[in-house]
Symmetry: D2
Subunit: 304 residues, 4 copies
């Protein structure tokens, strides 16, 4: 069942509509808490999307701890029972859906259930994470880390995650004003330094891999493309979203590239598929992962 989100408005429309329409339009930005939108309706007009979001975050921060915890409790658990039975807001469905959290198999589901239970026992509200910034591996790593927090730190961490979630949600509802640092991107570039030219026609694949850099057998590629005459992909490999924190493998098919030039022969060219394994730890940053190649050497670095 496809998830339907409201059509984005212009900032001007949001600034000038009736308060009720304003709350209808962005009331679900804060999960089950249209009161946040209502609280800032009287502060309009906002100069930009960023100011609107900051006002909403202030409205939450101004509440008492009990009221904030009540807000937290309106959120579904990650990979929890609500997720699996699809009883969540459209936003939450979309967010958790991207990571497959609604379709975990038995063992994984049990692991999440156990974490969720321990977390709720410890803090009295559900574990909230801006899941669009995470791979499963990093979500689990953060979960373990936050379980060890004391209550004050965890209240703050939760509010920060709600800030991230709601910035992304708000960004989807305003079509003419971008929030800053909302997304990251991953790009690459291959230079054939034996010829002093961009490597054109070279196949590249991107995979998510385990923390030890090994690929899960049968895992699908996140992206596949052939370099253009600039040695790059036409569009970034990942973009228009936060980057998911985790470890990745870019596989550069340099053997085929040099074979086509007559510079690699036989079944055992020294270099064939060159793996570059790297981590993304900043969701809203630019990661440029270039490769310089010859049939016998290569180098890579993080660029921006």
């Amino acid at each position: 069942m496809p998830v339907t989100l409201p059509t984005p408005d212009t900032l001007d429309a949001l600034n000038t509509c009736e308060p009720a329409a304003f709350v209808a339009a962005i009331g679900e930005v804060f999960e089950h808490a249209p009161w946040v939108a209502a609280a800032v309706a009287g502060l309009r007009p906002f100069a930009d999307a960023q100011s609107l979001h900051q006002a909403m975050m202030r409205a939450v921060a101004d509440k008492s701890e009990d009221e904030r915890v009540a807000l937290f409790c309106g959120h579904p658990e990650l990979a929890g029972e609500a997720a699996r039975s699809q009883r969540m807001t459209a936003d939450s469905q979309q967010e958790q859906g991207t990571l497959g959290l609604a379709e975990l198999d038995g063992d994984s589901a049990a692991q999440w259930d156990e974490l969720n239970r321990r977390y709720r026992d410890r803090f009295g509200f559900p574990f909230i994470l801006c899941i669009k910034r995470h791979t499963l591996a990093s979500a689990l790593q953060v979960f373990a880390q936050r379980l060890a927090h004391d209550r004050a730190d965890e209240l703050e961490a939760t509010l920060q995650e709600i800030g991230r979630i709601t910035r992304l949600r708000l960004g989807q509802r305003i079509r003419d004003h971008a929030l800053p640092e909302l997304h990251g991107q991953l790009t690459t570039h291959v230079l054939d330094i034996g010829r002093g030219q961009p490597a054109e026609g070279l196949h590249i694949e991107l995979f998510e891999v385990a923390r030890d850099g090994r690929a899960a057998p049968g895992a699908p590629a996140l992206a596949r493309f052939v370099t253009d005459r600039h040695g790059s992909s036409e569009r970034p490999l990942l973009h228009g979203q936060p980057l998911r924190i985790g470890r990745y493998e870019m596989r550069f098919h340099v053997g085929d590239y040099f074979r086509a030039q007559g510079l690699a022969q036989g079944p055992w060219p020294y270099l064939d598929i060159v793996p570059v394994v790297f981590a993304i730890q900043q969701s809203e940053a630019d990661y440029h992962v270039p490769l310089t190649i010859t049939p016998w050497a290569y180098g890579t670095y993080r660029g921006q």
Copy 2:
């Protein structure tokens, strides 16, 4: 049951002993063909091991095609019934044993049986390969290639392989005269170019991998070591044998190395385990696979 090979002699001892003792000492260098040793006993003394080997190869080359084919037929099939029931010369047992050809599981054994059968049908003698120069992957790749040969090419290819097998066997029987280009070696070196110093204390593992560079799940490391103060292993990773043609992965644990220096933090350092995947295609060559590293960049090339 451990395989026992004769104690190596000195070249001088081989040059001066009775002909019968000479044939006893090196008669099994050519599989089931002590006549080759006998044919050269009268040509002694030999100036070096290389000259002795060349004389033996000439003795074979001087024979008629039928006699050479008879020599070929004295060899056991690779991974064949004789191998699995351990009815081979000690040399052949040792050679095939290193690649696990005597212990293949059902499917693989059936694949080899089929290849052996097709080969014998086509050429009238068993497929002979200097197995110490191959991984399973390259042995199968060569097998397929040689099945497509015409008879003249295959007679020549077989003689060349017997030359390789017998050079290694002869090398094991003479303790004071090395044959040239008998072995290869694999070395590495890690330089920390952020500090201008060898990287000391960095863990490295070596694995054989599939042609696409992926490691077989659970495959054991061929070598494991921690770099010394020169950024190297004390001894070569592979040495004292021909290198097996195939694809390899060297895994450099740079994340731990930089973590110990305070230059990598958290669970997602940009670089953690850096894989370098390369092929060895020359069994008797030196492969030097160095790595230059910073926490954000690395490069490698084939050196010698």
Copy 3:
């Protein structure tokens, strides 16, 4: 005395004006040969600047050899007497002026006089070169090379140079339609691979150097700048002109850069001013000369 060139027109203005105005506007594109413009006035309108230039070149090519040689003879010698006494068209003054050909000292002037004399003796017309594409060193090198041509090759080479000269001149007279591949550019980028970030605040100088890579003592820098937060210069180091064929040195002040970070100490840091010496051989190409650095290592390659 400043050289004044006519104000550029729009292509539309050139396409629709009276023939006499058309010839007045672009008659000097071909040195002392307004007949070329007149010959194509009736072929208007032209779809773009490139088509106009091609039509003018065809008008020249359609002439007899004698008429083409007469056109050649209308050109001033490079660094010749006309240049030194400033009796040239405004275009020629500007072109030769950029290379200092009008102000050579005695020895150099004598060398050019001798080359010009030998050339004119051999071919019967002056040596013509699109001087904006050359350094003095490459101009002299081409001069020697072309003196060795036979007449047929040299007639062709001269026409090709006139094509290059006139494309640039026409490009200056049409302000709204660019000719393709008219200019080249030189850019750089410095990446600090010890930090995985662009190197900001690093001083760079560009010099022309002799063919052996040595700088002439006291020669002024062609460009000087400090890298911005992207590790680059805001604008290309060279652009908006053809690149002059020759050898260049880019000097990267990495010692000061690392000193500011506390990563270089004392008067003898391992790397201080890093010279990268390279040749430009294609005037209309893009040369990207990046540098990756640590305090102890660097690398560079030609990018595009």
Copy 4:
């Protein structure tokens, strides 16, 4: 007039000879101070050259400050009047001679005279430096630095330099026991990473250069050689001496190398003579300055 030093002895001969012969053999190790040798003659035998040197240094350190200053005053000034009129011990002549300090032209001589005068006025003894560890540039830089010392620091610095001078002198007098960390060496290695092989037959020159990396016009090469089949020089470029602190340029003639392979054409190959400019700041260390090359890219780092 060639400088003659005594023939080196064995440590055993020095340990067992008459005290007078011992003093005759090594009395000049400390300039005009045979009493140092005499003071340790009774402590023989010494286990190694290092122990002998340490005992001599202790004999000096045990003296009063006045006696040490008297020892200092026995040393000739660097580039001073005694040097220019060749009234120095054979050791001093050899040491100062290697840097051309006895043959400075008028301006430089005046600069040294002025520094020597200011130093002697300030401290009451001559400026002492182990000149074999310095280029002229670093000697002058240290001179300026030490002029700013207070007396206590300078007494210590002077004793340290005498330690360095005498270790080298002692090392020349004992032929069978090396002192540790007496010398440094400079090596290089060129790898052609477009072919995965050492670059054989590549010309390399080594020059001392100014602190800004520019070569002095007409300065002679310190070393010149052609790489062997390992891509190296047969022997280190510098060795068997301390390395002189200063800045150096290694010039790699990669243009000719690639021209011979047909990979560089014409007068303007992108790379021709590649300069690598680096400083040596540790006289007794190993500097390995390798180069990886293609016709369009190169990299270098400090190795060891």
